[in-house]
Symmetry: none
DNA sequence: TATGAATGAGTTTTCATTCAT
DNA sequence: TATGAATGAAAACTCATTCAT
C-alpha cells in the first residue's frame, strides 16, 4: 500500500480535494471548485490526475494511510498509559473527527461509497478496520491470554462500537457522542470483567 | 406527522423513487430515471411534486413512517415471545434491510443527508430513533424497575448498538452482520446481568 | 371592432391577464399564473380561449377599446373646459397610466409587440392613435380653420408628443413626466401662436 | 465605464447576441441560438459569460458605449456644419437605427427592460440620454446665452423629441418617421425663434 | 365549464473531459 | 506543468397544449 510520490502541486490538489469531498461527497463535488481551492484551473487537474475517479481514489488512499497511522499511534499511547483496552481510541475519535478532514472523508466515503468505485473503497476501509482490530486484540492480550474464539467475539464487538461512534460523529452533537461512548465502553468493560 | 393523500400516480412515483434514492442517493438520482420507472415522462413528475426536493422529502417521510411502524411492531412481538430486551430488532434488522427499500433509503439518507434538506432529515430520523429508544426502555422495565439514570445509559448503549448494526448492513456481508449482532448483544446481556 | 360577448369566467381571465401581460410582457407571462389569478387551473383557460395568442389578442382588443374611449372622452372634456388643444390628454396621461393596467398593457404591447402577432398589434394601435389625431384635429379646428397641410403637420407633432410622453411613463418618474409634458406643450403652444 | 477586454470568441458572441436580443428581446432569445450564430455550442458560452444575465449586461454596456460615441460625434459634426441645434441627430437617427443593431438593442432594452436587471438598464440609459442633453445644450449655447431655467426647458423638450423619434423608429415606416421629425423640429425651431 | 394528468419541446445551467498551445 | 476554449451529455425545471372525465 505504498503511496505515490506526488508533485507539490498534486499534493495541493489532494489537500483541497479531501476537504471538499468530505463535505459534499463524490457526486456533489465539482472539479472546478477543487481546482480553485488548489489555486489552478480545472483543466490543470488533468496534468496531475487522469480523472475525477483517479483523484478520488488517490485522496482516499492517502487519507486511509493517515488515519491508519493515527489508530496505530493511539493504541501505542494507550498501552503506555495503562488505559483499558480500546478506551483511548473511543475517547479521542470525536476530537480527531473535528480536526481531520481525512477522517471525515474516510467515514463518509466508507459508509456510502460512490457506485463507480465501491470495491476499491470497501476493501480499503476493511484494511483500516483490520488495523483497529489488530490494535484492540493486542491490547486485550496484554492483560491475559484468550481463546481465539473469545478474542474474536470481543474484537467484533469493539469494531461495532467504533462504527457506532463513527455514526454518532456524523449526525449528532459532541454531548451525545460522549454519552454513547460512555455507555458502550461500560458494556465492554462489564462484559470483560465477567471473564475472570 | 400525517401523510398526505397521494393520487395513485403520485404513489407510483414514490415507489419508484424510494428504490432509486436508496441505491444512488439524492445527488446521483435523476428525475428522468425515476419518471421512467414510474411509467411516465420527466415533466409529468411536476404534476405531482413541486421539485426534486419536495419529492425526496415526501418519500422520506413515508419511509420513516413505515419503518417506525415496523420497529413498534417488532417490540410488541418481542415482548409477546419473551425475548431478551432489544434482541428482536437486532436479529431482524438484516432481513428487513434486504426486504425494505424504505429502510435502505432511510439509513442512507440519515447518515449522509443531502445538504439542501439536512434539518428535515435529521429531525425526522431522531423521531425514528426515539421510537427505538422508547421500545427498548419499555422492554427493560418489564423485567424490573430501573433508576432513570441507569435506564438512560442502557438506552444510549442500545441505540449505539442499533446504529452499529445499521452501518454493518450498509457495507458488510450477512455473516459479518450476524457476528457483530451476536457480539454486541452479548455485551449488552452481560452488562445487564450484573445489575441484579 | 365589436368585442365578443364573454362569459363571466372569461372576463375574469381577461382581467387577470391584462395586469400580468402589462407587467411581464407576452413572453414572460405564464398561463399558469394567469389562471391562478383568475381562480382556476391552467387547463380551464382553454375552455375560454383557444391559445395564449388568442387570449392575448382578445385582451389587447378590449384594452384598446377602453383606452380609445378614454381618449375620446378626454377630448370632449377638454373642449367643454376651454383648455388649449391637446392639453387635457397630455396632462392626464400619467394619472391614467398608473390607474389603468389596460393602458400600461397597450403601450408595452404596441412598442414591442410579440413577433407572433405583430401585425395585429400594430394595426390596432394605429387605430388608437388615429383616435388621438382625430380628437386633436377637431380641437384645433374649433379655434380657427387650417390648411390641410398645416393641420397634418401639427397632428404629426402632437402624436409625436403623445408618444414621447408614453415613453416617459414607461421609464421615468412622475416629476420627469411633468417636466417633459410642460416643455413639449410649450413648444406646441409657441408654434401655434405664430400662426396668427 | 470602461469595457472589459474580451477574447475574440467572446466578442463574436457579443456580436451575435446584440442582433438577437435586438430582434427578440431578452425573454424570447435563447442561448442556444446565440451560440449557433457565434459558431459554437451552447455550453461554450459559459466559458465566456457567467450567465444569460451577464452576457446581456455586457452586450448592453458595449452597445451603450458605442451609441453614446455616435451621439457625441453627431453633435460635433452638427456644429461643424452650422446646422440648427439638435437637427443632425434627429435627421440621422433613422438611418442609424437601420444600420446599427446596437441602437435597436439599446432602445428595445431601455423601453422594456427585463425585470431581472431593470436597474442596471435604466441607469445606463440615463447616462446615454445625459449625453444627448449635454450635446444639445452646448449647441444651444453656441447661438446665444440662456438662463439655466430656459435651457433646461428646451433640453427637456429636445429629449422628448428624441424619445418620440425613438418610438417612431420602432413601430413605423421611414416616411412616417420623416414626417414626425419634420413636425417636431418645426415646433422646436418656432419656439426658439420666439426667444430673440 | 372545469380539471388532473400527461407530454414534447424547450429553457438555463453544470459537469467531466479533451485538446491545442 | 498549466490553461483557455470548446463540447456532449445530462441535470432540474417551465411551458403551452391536449385529452379523458
Amino acid at each position: 500500500m505504498l503511496l505515490k510520490d506526488l508533485s507539490p502541486s498534486a499534493l495541493r490538489v489532494c489537500e483541497a480535494a479531501v476537504g471538499h469531498f468530505a463535505e459534499y461527497g463524490y457526486d456533489a463535488s465539482s472539479l472546478n471548485e477543487i481546482a480553485q481551492l488548489a489555486g489552478m484551473r480545472k483543466a490543470s487537474l488533468y496534468a496531475h490526475f487522469a480523472s475525477k475517479d483517479a483523484l478520488f481514489v488517490e485522496v482516499y488512499q492517502r487519507a486511509l494511510a493517515q488515519e491508519t497511522a493515527f489508530v496505530e499511534q493511539g493504541f501505542a499511547e494507550e498501552s503506555g498509559n495503562g488505559l483499558a483496552p480500546g478506551h483511548w481510541l473511543a475517547l479521542h475519535l470525536a476530537e480527531r473527527y473535528s480536526a481531520s478532514a481525512e477522517l471525515r472523508f474516510v467515514l463518509r466515503t466508507a459508509f456510502l461509497p460512490p457506485a463507480e468505485i465501491k470495491p476499491i473503497v470497501t476493501s480499503g476501509f476493511e484494511k483500516y478496520l483490520d488495523g483497529v482490530r489488530e490494535g484492540f486484540c493486542q491490547a486485550l492480550q496484554l492483560r491475559h491470554s484468550w481463546a481465539d474464539e473469545q478474542l474474536a467475539v470481543y474484537a467484533d464487538a469493539y469494531l461495532g462500537i467504533i462504527d457506532s461512534l463513527h455514526v454518532e460523529l456524523m449526525y449528532a452533537t459532541p454531548a451525545a457522542y460522549a454519552r454513547r461512548a460512555t455507555a458502550l465502553l461500560k458494556l465492554l468493560d462489564d462484559s470483560l470483567s465477567l471473564q475472570r
